[in-house]
Amino acid sequence: MSEIKIHTKNLDLYYGDVYALKKVGMDIYRHNVTALIGPSGCGKSTYLKTLNRMNDTVAGVKITGDVFLDGEDVYGKGVDVTILRKKIGMVFQSPNPFPMSIYDNVTYGPRMHGVKKRIVLDEIVEKSLQDAAIWDEVKDRLKKPALSLSGGQQQRLCIARALATQPEVLLMDEPTSALDPISTTKIEELVSQLKRKYSIVIVTHNMQQAARISDYTAFFLLGELIENKKTQAIFSAPKDSRTEDYITGRFG
């Protein structure tokens, strides 16, 4: 078994009166892909957003329990969420490039974190776009608006944008749900490449996708973590009958 990157224990989350996460405890392993599956509203996206504290921006959220990144308490005293989010990058459900050029999208993060030198920025842009497998498609039009790209390209650009801040963990919130099958395949191949350098947590509603690309799979239901183990194990021999029902398509 590999090293633990993120450790959560007894994680409770309320949206106002709604009990959205119930005593969730699980580990995310370094340089692995962890898939979060479950029917919509089961808390998988909510859980994802507790890891980089994106839930802080929602009004009326109350979180208790532990989230540790490399042994440091994410909700502890003195934590700077901007550093946390630099270390834990995020890719959203639908592509959300900023209304600026492709180049400026990728350099947004590095500039924000203080990189100013043109040569360094150029290097980061090329490297990030290459890592996101979109360099060849856009290298001749870096100054073009990002919104002129196709949906699939936009999503890979968003991945490049997230990689440009040199994160260690990459959170992906249903990154292919708004994309066509061909773009989806490209992103899936990309994820398998990226796990060599990054620890990836991906929320997906698509069980085949989870089976194809993940090393670990966690099944959520009604805010509870039902089962979390190696992907092969969960798909071949689910322990819990509810997991089995979901995987075999009896509900959800």
């Binding site: 980089n52 630099k86 995020m90 959203f92 209304p99 997230a162 801040t165």
Partner: protein
């Protein structure tokens, strides 16, 4: 069932509906009359006013010895008031909108601010005049001056700036905010690099609407900034702003009402109408550019 609803008519039988026809024509006539009225008004202003608008009319001060009339001083006063009011009002208005849309967590407090904004926009300008006079001219000791006019108009156009900026900010997709914050941007960095550039067009619209309001304003300025523009403002900028002086609209009022000089009044009216038309075209142009994006 009742007989009235029996299906004894063919669908080709046309029912005669005289009331319907009269009503239809009434709507078209009313709409036509309103349209004709607007066109008539604009035509009257331009036809009666444009002959008075000469180069020297626009670029000189009134000269009682040569008996020539010029509106240049009031043009300068109008520009001063517009520029300095915007310098104060735009940051406050945009900042307030940013607070309402991005920072405020307490919904009750947001409602209080929004109610205050709406209240301000409903207060008629003559009351701004009374308030501005009591507070800025008397209490702050600014006397009747352009400066008092600038402060008074700042409060008056504040609701316009807040409302348009708020609408502009609202139209920025939530995903942009998430994207920036998710990369570790602080809120202020996100506002500065994503929100403000994306809502620039909307803020610009607010500025133009504010300019329109200031150009039209007369009642408040008559009380706080003075009723005539015979001379050019003199001295340093601060001296100039500390002196009294009327804007174009107030000047129109003075010529039409106090002096009975309708020729000059129509000349100024024509200038004002042209400004209003240009401002309208500008907002339309910006709106179209924004829609294309």
């Amino acid at each position: 069932m009742v007989d009235v609803l029996a299906n004894n008519r063919k669908i080709t039988d046309k029912k005669n509906r005289p009331f319907e026809k009269i009503f239809y024509s009434a709507i078209f006539i009313v709409a036509g009359l309103v349209l004709a009225m607007v066109i008539y008004f604009i035509a009257v202003i331009l036809i009666r006013g444009l002959p008075a608008v000469t180069w020297s009319f626009l670029t000189t001060a009134p000269n009682p010895i040569k008996k020539t009339i010029g509106i240049f001083p009031s043009i300068v006063n109008t520009l001063y008031i517009i520029v300095f009011t915007l310098i104060i009002c735009v940051p406050i208005g945009v900042g307030g909108a940013i607070y309402l849309n991005e920072y405020a967590k307490n919904k009750k407090f947001v409602r209080v601010i929004e109610f205050a904004t709406e209240t301000l926009s409903g207060i008629p300008s003559i009351l701004y005049g009374v308030f501005g006079y009591v507070v800025f001219c008397l209490m702050f000791g600014l006397k009747v001056s352009l400066l008092a006019g600038i402060f008074t108009l700042t409060i008056m156009v504040l609701p316009i700036m807040i409302r348009t900026s708020q609408e502009a900010l609202r139209s920025v997709p939530k995903s942009y905010r998430e994207g920036a914050l998710g990369m570790g941007a602080t809120k202020w960095y996100m506002v500065r690099t994503i929100l403000l550039p994306s809502s620039l067009g909307g803020i610009l619209t607010g500025i133009i609407l504010s300019i329109g309001r200031m150009v039209s304003e007369s009642a408040a300025l008559l009380l706080v900034a003075g009723g005539s523009a015979m001379y050019m403002p003199k001295g340093s900028i601060l001296d100039q702003l500390s002196g009294s002086g009327s804007t174009l609209s107030v000047e129109l009022y003075r010529y039409a009402y106090s002096r009975g000089d309708n020729q000059t009044a129509f000349g100024i009216a024509a200038v004002l109408i042209i400004i209003v038309i240009l401002l309208n075209l500008l907002t339309r142009y910006i709106a179209e550019r924004l829609n294309k994006k």
